[in-house]
Assembly symmetry: C2
Homo-oligomer: 115 residues x 2
């Protein structure tokens, strides 16, 4: 656990999610496949810029790109999201365990004071 490869995956994942445009693209792709041109349409920026965002998302494992005629349809790879989810849940779990123990401890102290 806590290997270097995992760390690099999480680096790439959270970096990918740290940009609003890329989060938008992920949200858009969660409703189905889309081509680069379709993904670029809502934004003021050039298609090249969107293409670069797609590259970042691909490096993180969040999406993959296929080929169909002239287009490169993108689709979500939800497995990558799971990695982020479980990292966050692990931290949360540790924290709430600690809170539980603290509560128990305080309850014990209270008991002793009640004697």
């Amino acid at each position: 656990m806590g290997t270097i490869i995992q760390d690099q995956q999480l680096d790439a994942l959270f970096t990918a999610l740290s940009d609003r445009t890329r989060r938008d693209i992920v949200a858009r792709l969660s409703t189905g496949e889309a081509t680069v041109k379709e993904l670029a349409k809502p934004y003021a920026m050039s298609m090249q810029a969107v293409s670069q965002h797609i590259r970042v998302l691909e490096r993180s494992g969040l999406i993959s790109q296929g080929r169909h005629r002239q287009t490169r349809p993108c689709r979500l790879e939800p497995a990558a999201l799971e990695a982020g989810l479980s990292w966050i849940e692990e931290s949360r779990r540790t924290w709430s365990d600690r809170m539980d123990r603290l509560e128990t401890h305080l309850a014990h102290v209270q008991d002793r004071e009640d004697q």
Copy 2:
């Protein structure tokens, strides 16, 4: 929903989590409070560098800093983690709903072919 403020919060949150050292610090703080010096000890980098990481984590809302004598103890603020968790879960939910519908649709097509 989907306001500019929310977006900025998520930007800051995922940016904060995109660095291994900062994720380490969050994990460390999930087991209890710690001072800047204590947090810096495991790393080869200077305490100033760690202090800057702490600043990034604070801006994201993931941690807060108090004052006690000469020290500035840091503690985790798990509410910020929830924001990230729910963003990821929302994407996942939309995606799996779509997969369910697709399965249902394919089942229907299968039924019609079976007739």
